[in-house]
Amino acid sequence: MNMKWLLAIIFYIFPSMIFANELSSDRQKTLLYLLRQDCGSCHGMTLKGGLGPALLPETLANKPTEFLVQTILDGRPNTAMPPWRGLLTQAEAVWLVAELVKGIPHEH
């Protein structure tokens, strides 16, 4: 392996692997807004549920992260949960799941 490749790995590939989940704070704000306002149409603005189930830390506790990420990206067949893949990236779905599991603080 020549030096060029080594440098490429150190400066481009590693960082992109490590920081894949680093979303800009603006994007994070947008995602939280989307979560409250638009996901909130079905899951409730306080995420206590509606047509869709509650998305509180206690209701998500037993669900594997992978399953939750996949639910966001691909939706759930035979339910009203749509696939969000067209509007959200994998990294964004991962970030949202982490936030949900942690618990989203209320705005008020």
Binding site: Q37, D38, M45, K48, G50, P82
Partner: protein, 397 residues
């Protein structure tokens, strides 16, 4: 003794005169506070994020007051008492709140369930019905006191609750695919007629302006479930079972609503689910006659009161746009972009103007429906549903 009495009487007179003088001096001030007015041109706008409502005047196009303390209004709806003085606000968190819209105050509030979706007021104006998700069912309350009169558990989320002539309530069950018709002449012991296997996952319903037909839209499969309330024995009829056949089903980022759907002399215009079209149904044959391609997944397909125009808003990510359909030839005659996240539309009682809520831009925009010009803009905190008191006198609210 008598001098004393005289003096007292004089003093009384003096005080009285002083009061009258002061009252007259401040007359304009007092007058403003006690001015008599009607409520027929008022309305309520839901501010979903702050759990508050605005009381608005549709004649002067102004905000009259803001009332707070409604809890989670992420999905809220409103009905009005028939004297048009009180609004009943149904909140997501199961809150049922009675508001005096003249005084801008909460009269009464009960938390009647864990998770609620909407409500209705009975034909005689005496009962408030609330449809609930958790625990699933319908509860009946006295409109004056909000006393609980009956609880109808359903084992399913309840959607599409409307009142119907004959002191009835009609609603659909999302999880079990049923339509129930409840006769509430005796509100403590409603008589229920159930229709099962109406189709998978009814998500909302509408009732015709004369109260004859109840139409539930299906989410779990294509089509609609139609019930003729003048002829219950005929049962539920399925219509448009395969609309949009062969077309790709697109994701639905917001559930469409059927309330206020476009009903004209001969046709009914309703949102397709999973397709970016508005369906035109013949009111006599119940066959689809057309599908109108539109800008996105339609959410509300609202007819102007005269039925000449139908205004449509859309789900994410196309929710900055409103399109207007001319019902004489089903062409799209106008595409407007009021702003980010248009959530709801409400026409003034006779339709010369329409109010549009633009959630992400924190404002209401009022359009002239003849010229399509924006004629007013009012600030509102994350506005969603807009409800005018004219609804008080319409069947199916």
């Amino acid at each position: 003794m008598s001098t004393n009495l005289l003096f007292t009487s004089d003093l009384k007179q003096f005080l009285l005169n002083t009061v009258i003088f002061l009252s007259l001096s401040f007359f304009p001030l007092f007058n403003q506070a006690t001015e008599l007015r009607g409520t027929g041109d008022l309305g309520v706008v839901v501010e979903r994020a702050t759990g508050s409502i605005l009381i608005v005047d549709t004649t002067t196009r102004t905000r009259l007051s803001k009332v707070e303390g409604f809890g989670d209004l992420s999905h809220a709806s409103v009905v009005f008492s028939r004297d048009q003085r009180y609004a009943y606000v149904f909140g997501r968190d199961g809150g049922l709140t009675k508001v005096d819209i003249l005084l801008g105050t909460i009269v009464n509030r009960v938390i009647q369930a864990g998770n609620s979706i909407g409500g209705a007021i009975s034909q005689d104006g005496q009962l408030i019905a609330v449809s609930n998700y958790t625990p699933g069912g319908v509860k009946l309350f006295a409109a004056d006191s909000l006393e609980l009169l009956a609880d109808l558990p359903t084992n399913s989320k309840v959607v599409g609750l409307v009142d119907a002539p004959g002191q009835r309530l009609v609603f659909s069950l999302f999880d079990t695919g049923e339509i129930w018709v409840a006769d509430v002449h005796n509100p403590r012991q409603p008589e229920i007629k159930k229709f099962t296997n109406v189709g998978k996952q009814p998500y909302d319903a509408l009732i015709f302006p004369n109260g004859r037909y109840y139409l539930a839209g299906l989410f779990g499969e294509k089509g609609f479930a139609l019930l003729n309330l003048w002829q219950l024995e005929a049962g539920v009829k399925r219509i448009l079972p395969d609309y949009g056949k062969g077309e790709e089903t697109l994701p639905v980022y917001k559930m469409p609503h059927l309330e206020g759907c476009g009903i004209t002399d001969d046709h009914l215009l309703v949102p397709a689910v999973g397709q970016h079209t508005v369906l035109v149904i013949d009111r006599h044959t119940w066959q689809q006659v057309k599908s109108i391609p539109v800008h996105g997944q339609p959410v509300f397909v609202m007819a102007r009161p005269d039925g000449r125009q139908v205004w449509v808003n859309f789900a994410l990510p196309d929710n900055d746009t409103v399109q207007v359909i001319d019902t004489t030839d089903f062409s799209i005659i106008k595409t407007l972009t009021p702003g980010k996240a248009v959530l709801h539309l409400e026409f003034t009682p006779r339709g010369e103007a329409v109010w549009v809520s633009v959630r992400d831009e924190d404002r209401l925009v009022v359009y002239n429906t003849e010229t399509f010009e924006s004629i007013a803009t009012l600030p509102a905190d994350k506005p969603s549903g807009i409800f005018f008191t004219a609804r008080a006198h319409k069947i199916g609210q």
